[in-house]
């Protein structure tokens, strides 16, 4: 797994300007520390440098089927995340009703004072949304990527029951990698 992560690292290094050597070494260090880490999850609570704060996946009826926190402040228990997820589901639906023109498919981006919420709804009604730092640009790509991982590792898992909470190890591993890659790309900028 460390080798694979380094391989992905190679993808992003060309984007780093050669003038900005401080940033490049920073990335290198962040990778080394992650790879040397005993804990398999690179997102332990000691690291509070978040490009994305959390990820939610909700099924077509608004039930939370996946939630992962990547270092937001404060405590959020299971009940809170469930409530927030179903609240978002309703807000998404109401925003469609209030559209001044036809063909509205719900909120894509909510800009709050301290965070941005990017939402992607798949054709089957499953919604993916990430809470990120304000002004983060490339979240659509990340959401599509997460959707791809969902189709590959969750929907194709024969033991997964539709609309039920996601417990797939492969999905977790690949998601952690995708988010890490995204974070490194952000650091390199």
């Amino acid at each position: 797994m460390p080798n694979k992560a380094l391989g992905q690292n190679g993808y992003y290094l060309p984007f780093v300007s050669p003038l900005n050597s401080a940033t490049a070494s920073q990335i290198h260090n962040s990778f080394r520390s992650v790879n040397q880490c005993k804990n398999p999850s690179p997102f332990d609570s000691s690291k509070r440098m978040a490009a994305i704060y959390s990820l939610y996946i909700i099924n077509k009826s608004g039930g939370l089927i996946f939630y992962k926190d990547y270092g937001s402040a404060g405590r959020m228990d299971t009940n809170d995340s469930l409530r927030l997820a179903s609240l978002w589901h309703s807000m998404h639906a109401i925003s469609q009703q209030l559209s001044p023109v036809h063909g509205c498919s719900g909120i894509e981006l909510l800009e709050a004072d301290t965070f941005d919420l990017h939402c992607f709804q798949s054709l089957t009604g499953t919604k993916f949304f990430v809470v990120s730092e304000p002004g983060t640009q490339h979240m659509d790509g990340l959401l599509k990527q997460i959707y791809e991982l969902y189709t590959d590792y969750v929907l194709k898992n024969p033991f997964y029951e539709m609309e039920m909470p996601i417990r797939c190890e492969l999905f977790d591993i690949n998601l952690a990698q995708a988010v890490l890659k995204d974070r490194v790309a952000l650091l390199g900028r």
Binding site: A73, G74, S95, G103, I107, D113, T114
Partner: protein, 169 residues
């Protein structure tokens, strides 16, 4: 609060651009959820009658505010979801975007909410909303014939607002 700085309207509105006509509609609510003003410039789709529409809009904003206050990833003590909050308390939001429209939102410390619905590709309208709030102060609050908390019927305000929103980029 910054928008209480000067009482006179700034001489140059923040976003005077040539290509306008991006505005769909605008709402002004007071803190009790009463719709003080509803203006409509370009709205082909009406799903509900006017009163229901205003209620739904106020409800959406109210719930979105409690959602953002609870979701705020930077504050440690957020309280419970749905706890009533004073204007300016907790993490609020300033806009959201769908594929067909963009809604910009501003709340004054007295609880006046200004909502502007525009084309989804419109830029940041926070300054424009402050300017509209200034117009409200000048033409509505300072109008001796206006009773606070009642729907706004003020010709001068309406015409200035129309003119300003039509010029928004």
């Amino acid at each position: 609060m910054q928008f209480f700085g000067g009482s006179e309207i700034s001489p140059s509105p923040p976003l005077p651009t040539a290509s306008g006509n991006n505005g769909h509609m605008m709402y002004v609510f007071n803190r009790n959820g009463i719709c003080l003003l509803y203006r409509e410039w370009n709205r082909p789709l009406h799903t509900l009658n006017a009163q229901q529409d205003h209620k739904l809009m106020f409800g959406l904003l109210f719930s979105l505010k409690s959602l953002t206050a609870k979701m705020d990833p930077t504050s440690v003590d957020k309280g419970n979801l749905g706890v009533p909050q004073l204007p300016g308390q907790g993490c609020s939001f300033h806009s959201f975007r769908t594929n067909t429209y963009k809604l910009s939102f501003m709340e004054s410390p007295s609880g006046i909410k200004i909502i502007l619905v525009t084309h989804p590709r419109t830029g940041d309208l926070r300054e424009s909303l402050k300017y509209i709030y200034n117009l409200y102060v000048e033409y509505v609050v300072k109008n001796p014939l206006y009773t606070p908390g009642t729907p706004i019927r003020c010709e001068l305000f309406d015409s200035t607002l129309d003119q300003y929103v039509r010029g928004l980029g």
